[in-house]
Symmetry: C2
Subunit: 153 residues, 2 copies
């Protein structure tokens, strides 16, 4: 499962790089579909990844943050980088042997760890697909979404 | 790996269902980003999946087809359903034990089977993310992209 996460982290970093010179207005502009803006999409990916993996699966205390506090793409990138070591450490020690473990919530039937891990992976890929459209609308070439030919496999 | 493929196949079927009543012009309309239209995106997903898994990994003879021959969404859906049993049989027998096997092409360094399998998975999720934006532009609600709470995990 780790290669999928590494893929997502590389692609996410590529988007932060690409978008660095795009004006604030375009980054925060409300768009049709997805979660509504480039900024909110990136924030949402990081938020969802952290909450599922660390708060839910790893049962660490919830940390509250608010999108309104992120005033620039750089704030969001810093958020990503700050959360990353905790997330990466959790993913690194995860094995598929844990896939059948049940998440302790009131949800019936309970979610399984393997299901949530894959949900987080698919979640980011899906939202990056949305960003790739918006980036083209800005006349930019989106970072490659290819999984092949990366140095981590 | 199978659950990711099942996810992609369910979501793909959901899109075919959703788009059934959308006029031809909207399905084939050239759009900004991705591979250019809803029709071509769906065709491309099926084509790429078949070619990587069956022609490349499973080393079966290449079958040539041309997008121009697909005159409607129903043609593309039929294409998907016709290719599906072969693809599903290959995925069903695949195990991660095969991940390190090298693909026999002139490419250096050679691609590995596990890398290509994951590429195909990410490829479809990424393109479906793009479709989700275009579908919203048609004032339709895209099918859920959630991986959790499906009956196959």
């Amino acid at each position: 499962m780790l290669p999928f996460f590494k893929y997502n982290w590389q692609v996410r970093a590529d988007y932060f790089d690409l978008l660095r010179t795009v004006p604030y207005e375009e980054i925060y502009k409300k768009r049709i579909g997805g979660v509504g803006s480039i900024a909110y999409t990136l924030y949402h990916i990081i938020d969802v990844e952290y909450n599922w993996l660390i708060t839910d699966l790893n049962q660490q205390p919830e940390i509250e943050w608010h999108f309104e506090d992120f005033k620039s793409l750089m704030d969001i990138q810093r958020f990503s980088e700050e959360r990353h070591p905790t997330v990466a450490a959790f993913v690194a020690q995860y094995t598929e042997g844990g896939d059948e473990q049940k998440l302790l919530t009131s949800e019936k039937p309970p979610l399984k760890y393997g299901e949530v891990m894959r949900h987080v992976i698919a979640h980011e890929i899906h939202h990056i697909g949305q960003l790739s459209i918006w980036v083209r609308e800005l006349d930019l070439k989106p970072p490659t979404a290819n999984f092949i030919r990366r140095d981590f496999f």
